[in-house]
């Protein structure tokens, strides 16, 4: 088990009802975090449309997460 801080943005934050939480998760990759918290961010959006960052660096879904990492889950962006 790893201690992971998960941050939710925009729609994900509204569905989770909170911006951030620290969880004990059995995860290897960013995608694992996305899937294990899916019910909280109430998303059926495929991960391909979403983005992820780890410790304030843009990351891939296949990026590995380590104990103590902060994982940021971004729903589909819409700048401009």
């Amino acid at each position: 088990m790893k201690t992971i801080t998960v941050r939710y943005f925009a729609m994900f934050r509204e569905h989770a009802g909170l911006g951030e939480e620290t969880l004990q998760l059995d995860v290897a990759t960013a995608l694992d975090v996305f899937e294990q918290t899916r019910s909280r961010h109430a998303s059926t959006e495929p991960s391909g449309h979403c983005k992820v960052a780890i410790n304030d660096e843009m990351a891939e879904w296949t990026s590995s997460v380590n104990d103590g990492d902060t994982v940021l889950l971004f729903p589909p962006v819409a700048g401009g």
Partner: protein, 141 residues
Amino acid sequence: MFAISDNDISVDALREQLMDPGAGGLCVFEGWVRNENEGRTVERLEYEVYEPLAVSEGEKVIAEAREQFPHLQACCVHRSGLLEIGDCAVWVGVAAPHRDEAFKACRYIIDQIKVRLPIWKKEHYLDGDTGWVNCERCANV
């Protein structure tokens, strides 16, 4: 230079910042808040921005444009917070020796900014409803 702004974008100041006696042309793109999206009347708009990563990713986009088209000056500011119809949501300016690179670099920057930066747009409709743009599926659960 890339920045996020909570207040009205100072279009004139940004334009002046790009002035350069060696530049022969300036291409600017401004994104404005429209009164309509996909058939619904929009009253106002709200941008949520995760600023640390929006700024670093925005700077990266500008650096990429400068690599592809050398000798250009480029600048972009994106709004956060609540915007009214007609407000400027994003300003991109590129000054370059010739117009071809000014147009191409400006287009590159706005295209990338729209798809890469952690920025989300919530529309407030006339009927009181709200919706996150580009997030129809996650909104439907």
